[in-house]
């Protein structure tokens, strides 16, 4: 899961590579087979599989083999849970209150003596 320190390290490591970031972006739009993922990439299939293994170990992606086709999908439960939305809501309020503070400072009828930000 994304909220554990060690797991987060793995996620960061997994996403430190541009190929893997591309894979995650692609999979966030929907599942894809390994060969579909490999197609636009200019690397060997074993190299693609290796990247996928790193993503699987990080918990971001999981794959399932049906017949001869291995299908990969995003496993970012953390992104889907209500907790994610609640945190977003909270973050949105933090940003709003930041803006409220700036607004109040800009419209201060009695500007403080110290330099005000323009």
């Amino acid at each position: 899961m994304l909220n554990q320190g060690a797991a987060l390290d793995q996620v960061f490591q997994a996403l430190a590579d541009p190929t893997r970031r591309w894979m995650v972006e692609r999979l966030s739009r929907g599942p894809a087979s390994v060969s579909e993922l490999a197609k636009p990439l200019t690397m060997s299939l074993p190299a693609v599989v290796q990247h996928l293994q790193v993503l699987e170990q990080s918990g971001l992606v999981r794959s399932e083999k049906v017949g001869r086709v291995r299908t990969c999908r995003m496993q970012a439960e953390g992104l889907r849970t209500a907790e994610h939305w609640i945190n977003q809501r909270r973050d949105a309020w933090e940003r709003r209150l930041d803006r409220l503070g700036e607004f109040l400072a800009e419209t201060d009828p009695e500007p403080k003596k110290r330099a005000r930000k323009k």
Binding site: V11, F12, L15, A16, R21, V24, E25, S28, R29, G30, M74, A76, L79, R80, T81, A82, E83, H84, W85, I86, Q88, R89, R90, W93, E94, R96, L97, R99, L100, G101, E102, F103, L104, A105, T107, D108, K112
Partner: protein
């Protein structure tokens, strides 16, 4: 709606506190006057506004609808339940993405004079419904996470 859809509710409360170098009257104005509120209460800057309604009185309604250009709009639809000038505002609201309801919440803003300034406490109690998301949100959520991670990685490297 398909009957196979999984129903769920998650309840959650969060509380934020801020101190402002401004009187309770000025902070209250920033909540009660449309022009002032528009300066700080809005979606991300790049969002496009679709609908705005603002009737700040007990029983009055506030609507703010908008979203990324071309994407499903997010709608905030609120009703004010208690207003004590310069001291307290209580409203309930639901959040939609398109036609789908994400959550129903009760928000309380408390203002207290603190020296020449104001201490604000905001408490939000919410019922988050069915883990609602649609494809576009999920993608946006993922993108956002990636961007955040990307930035922190850059910071880390730099």
């Amino acid at each position: 709606m398909p009957t196979s859809e999984k129903r769920s509710v998650v309840h959650s409360t969060f509380r934020l506190e801020r101190s402002f170098d401004a009187s309770p009257e000025r902070v209250f104005q920033a909540f009660s006057q449309l022009e002032s509120k528009a300066k700080w209460f809005s979606g991300p800057e790049q969002w496009v506004a679709h609908e705005r309604e603002f009737d700040f009185r007990v029983g009055g309604r506030e609507v703010l609808s908008g979203g990324p250009k071309g994407a499903t709009p997010h709608t905030f639809d609120a009703r004010y339940f208690d207003i004590v000038p310069n001291q307290r505002i209580v409203y309930a609201y639901d959040m939609y993405v398109g036609e789908r309801k994400l959550s129903v919440s009760l928000a309380t803003i408390e203002l207290r004079a603190q020296g020449k300034g104001t201490h604000l406490v905001m408490t939000e109690q919410g019922a988050y419904l069915d883990g609602v998301e649609d494809g576009s949100q999920r993608e946006a959520g993922t993108k956002e996470l990636l961007e955040k991670l990307g930035r922190s990685l850059t910071d880390f490297v730099a």
